[in-house]
Amino acid sequence: MMGVRRKGLGVRGVGTLGFFGIAIVLLASVVAGCAGELALGDPRTMTFKPVEFSPPDPERIVLDNGMVVYLLEDHELPLITMTATMRTGSWLDPADKIGLAALTGSVMRTGGGGGFSAEEVDEALEQFAGDVSIGIGRQSGSASLDVLSKDLKRGLQIFAALVRTPAFEPARLELAKLQAIEGIRRRQDNPGSIVGREFIKLLYGAEHPTARESTIDSVRRITRDDLVAFHRNTIHPNGIILGVTGDFKKEEMLASLREVFGDWKKGAIPELKIADVPERDAEKPAVRFVDKDTTQTHLRVGHLSIKENDPDYVPLAIANDILGGSSFRSRIFNDVRTKLGLAYSVGSRLNTGVHDQGIWLVRAETKLASTQEVIERFLVNIERMRSEPVSDVELAEAKDAYINSFIFSFSSPSVIVSRLIELEYDGLPKDFLQQLRDKVVKLTKEDILAAAKKHLHPDRLKIVAVGSGKTLPAVLSTFGEVKEIKLSQEG
């Protein structure tokens, strides 16, 4: 429930494109090679015709109170799902009550509402095998209902009650707080969790809305009145985009939605605006370690990056894809894992959204003895990406992979609808992915080199390593001045 953050360029079918009923054309690839003794010939030389497909076009309706509804019927299975994306999030948490948004989301689900007690909600849903989940992340909230179509009426009644008029029963809030505190107490258990969180904090600053974390004290301070107010002040019908897919008839569904949501009054929706990190902080390199008794060094290396609506997004995303983003096909995977055998999970990522700065990072876990070598391989590969153009083959492979897997952006009605909702939530045009695709097709080696030079900064790298405090300082000292992050065990 991190809200709306697409990972990479959608090279793995994580992406959208136009919904004008455009036929998607997959390019056939032609690659030369020698034939073997195979029944069908050599798979390396096979070519295929483009796959043509017109994805179904969801209907977009705006209710009188401003709630946006996307509808797409799909009668193959007797199921209906709906997901409300809500303009709320933990960027709205007061500084002394970090954790309020998350608790509000979780107790909206568990604390009853609309005249149903918490117990009645759980009993009813689980007896007819309906599923409701609600959560509030950093930049959006999400509430979803998943029912057999025969159970729509009672499912929708409960769903609307929890979203509109949650009761926040005190006992359920108390339990949620205890569980949240236990979660905080367990934050330092796994090295992977530690390195991920410390890296984000180092990039954005520990107080930044994208990085800040709840504490036992901040959770203890939160009261039921805080939840009631947070819900009342941030969740309004005109801040909701509802996507509905499955086995229903459009007119009947609209009537049902108007019945449960129609008389909900508009409100002032919060502005989703998150400050950038000051340039002087973003450009400072840093080397940090956390002392933990582990067999591997858990590594993150990277810096802040562009937003997804940046004009350089496509060339940088493809540069990252070739550098380390595309697993088996990427340079860093081939180097560190396949050729050197030094890591199992290794690669780079460009994580971007439109509301805050993105992150570009390289990651790996490797045994303590090979830590320095792995970081050096990262640096060599980053430098090469900035200093010489990618090969024609690499570019062709990256383009083919993106274009030919594009169809998976339409693998189901719910994928299609949720993509449209993401784009609308982020204020992006609905043909945004189509635009990306067109740019990928035209991309040159020079574009990629220019983007890598401009946006990959070896002199700004922030390195976080979790591992042995005995050996890491010396190992890391070749990459800059090393400082320790002391973990404070809470509770």
Partner: protein, 532 residues
Amino acid sequence: MSNRVCVCPTFHVSRFTLCFLAMAISLVSNVNVLSAASPSLAERVVEHRLANGLTVLMVERHQTPVVSINITFAVGGINEQVGQTGLAHFYEHMAFKGTRTVGTRDYEKEKPILDELARVGTELERRQRAIAQKTSEATVEEQAAVDSLQKRFMDLQAQASQYVVGNEVALLYQRHGGVGFNASTGKDLTRYTISLPSNRLPLWAAIEADRMANPVLREFYKERGVVMEERRLRNDDSPNGLLFETFTSAAFRAHGYGVPTIGWGSDILSLTPADAEAFFKAHYGPNRATIALAGDLDPKDTIDLIERTFGKIPAAPDSTARMAAEPEQRGERRVEVEFDAEPSIIIGYHKPGLGHPDDDVFDVIDAVLSDGLTSRLHRTLVRERRLAASISSSANHPGVREPNLFIIMATPLAPHTTGEVEAAIYEELERLKQEPVSPKELERVINNLDADMVRAMRSNSGLASQLALYQAVAGDWRDILKSRDRVSAVTAADVQRVAAQYFTKSNRTVGVLVKKSNGKTVAAAQNNGVAR
């Protein structure tokens, strides 16, 4: 926590058991919820058996021009011999290294180098082990022989690398728009997955038939290093991973279910190319495989395609492996793992595997105890008594086919201890013996099972996975339907009887994660005066 290990990390944990019961699919012909809108999927499964024993299952779905394919081999960790643990998973990694055609620049030139590399590498490691086992230092001659082999080994490895086209199988799939290319190994099964634009099926057939017939174990020694890192990541540096490994190996003394799928570190480091080659020949025949395809396909064309490619591959010989049976447990076993992490606990009881009538009763117990906010363990331990932050159970740890364990896992809510949580769990298990479960609870179990079956049909890959899973473990995909009916026939009396028979002190194993920081053990499970 995962019993499965994969060639490529997916950054999420899943338990086999969950997909078995909770996600069990679909093709339920006698459930009214299905007949409402769609023709029964049971009628949509097309089955085909090749002369060499390969089973093919297909479901046509033409909404989108894509297809998902799942190849499941009935081979896994339980097929390993002592001293070769981790071999099934390691072979799965090697299956990504290509064939005589794919992944090489010139196989004719590469082959003699690979053969020599395997010979030298095996001899080198044999001598290194011999020196390591000596009580005295290696003689000058012994050390010189090792050094010489080492140099030869490095030379050969460098020569071999000249012929490698790295990760070419993956590259081919990606170029043609493939997504979800991965594999996983469990105790019972090894599974290979891919989704493609549907007109690329010939590419898939050419690659996979070649992988099944002509794999080449290139980059062998480097990949051992990769798997060692995977082991460190999943088990050594993960408190949960290490607790599960320790707990499971304490529960099984003889049967292969006690061995971690990824293997013991020293075994992984001792695997030889000859071991991997022999494992492939013994287990990877078409007669051990099920291929399930779901999506935009034509069954007739697909069968024709598979006959022309996989049809030529000879069947593997009948298995001659002997498997140890787990002797009856004659007393409680308790193990601790000290870790720089907050405490948790696993409790497990031996039980029969798939095919035994009591197995279905455990599926019901599993759901009654821990499925949902209204389940007994959640209600009592989490909500009412606030002893645990989370609690869950599983009816098939660490595999499905053989006699296995029913397990309960919990994390205490501070300041409560694992001892208090353990005592409260035993009270709930006693309640199962003393009072019949209510009709409402039984109804809830079957309602959720039916709904989950429908939901599991949403994706092509989920559908293909479920069909291949049941075919491979039960010998018939229709067991999806049969198991649903068996579960629905379970009575309150069955639950009481089974609880009384299996949930006994002498039949249980308890694993506790104990907090240790800065070298000292922190009081965690002190008051475990729990035994019943």
